[in-house]
Amino acid sequence: MYKAMLFALLAVSAAAAAATPRETINAYAVEAVRQSPGFQPSARRGAEFYARRFAVSDKMPACTACHTDSPAQPGRHAVTGKAIKPLAPRAEAARFTDPAKTEKWFRRNCTEVLGRECSAAEKADFIQFLAEGL
């Protein structure tokens, strides 16, 4: 009983805890390795993904539609015009430090732009590029 409670407490504090972008990349990389052994996050693949035109959505054909060609620059929502802070952690320190928020936006934006959810490997590559550049 005591052990179960301690475990639950740990799980709750882990869920609420902030992460660094590096920890977020590692968490996705661990999941990606399970699906494809030997996986290593790649900033180059992430950059290619960031710039790719998926063309599933007219108004949001690519990540760049809202986040601009340079993720260190502020962006703008393609439909509402709302200002978006830079996506790159080097320009906006809070990026990829809240795992629940990161997951939420991947789910939303991948569904919108790619027409499907992103894989753990794609997410790890994507943040690797944003955190470290090319």
Binding site: R76, V79, T80, G81, K82, A83, E112
Partner: protein
């Protein structure tokens, strides 16, 4: 004496039937944290007083088809936000949105408040969308919509 009081009386009735101050629309104090985080994720978290309670219920019932976007939320957050929006909704029929889901930019009140804005300006690259309040109202995030705060110089002259 009686004649002198009449405008005052009319003013009091008007004050009851219209929003307190059209240029002050602060976020209500009972806003849950999810209001800014979720509603404010893609657009300015719109003042709940800009739509009626039935309008907000219709908006919140179809978050998967949210003006062309999928804005689905978990049920707990969805319910919390709907309750907040309904609690603070407009009681005035002039704030009733039009369309399905209802657009607050199409209410009789909104249209009248913006009647001097030329059609071309709504399509201006700086504005993009009528729902982009901050494009013109530089202090919209703080709940202030005063004429002299309007960011576009060609509009400021009209106020």
């Amino acid at each position: 004496m009686r004649a002198a009081l009449l405008p005052l009386f009319a003013g009091a009735i008007l004050a009851i039937s219209l929003p307190a101050r059209a240029d002050r629309l602060p976020v209500p104090a009972d806003a849950p944290a999810s209001f800014k985080a979720e509603c404010g994720g893609c657009h300015l978290p719109f003042p709940p007083a800009l739509l009626t309670a039935p309008d907000w219920k219709r908006v919140m019932a179809r978050l998967d088809k949210h003006y062309g976007d999928n804005a689905s939320l978990d049920e707990k957050t969805r319910r919390e936000l709907e309750d907040f929006l309904v609690r603070n909704a407009a009681g005035n029929g002039r704030m009733a949105g039009q369309g399905d889901p209802p657009r607050l930019t199409a209410s009789a009140w909104f249209q009248r408040e913006h009647r001097k804005v030329p059609a071309s300006l709504w399509r201006d690259a700086r504005v993009k969308s009528a729902s982009n309040c901050s494009a013109c109202h530089s202090r919209a995030e703080q709940g202030s919509y005063r004429g002299r705060e309007i960011a576009l110089p060609e509009l400021r002259e009209k106020h």
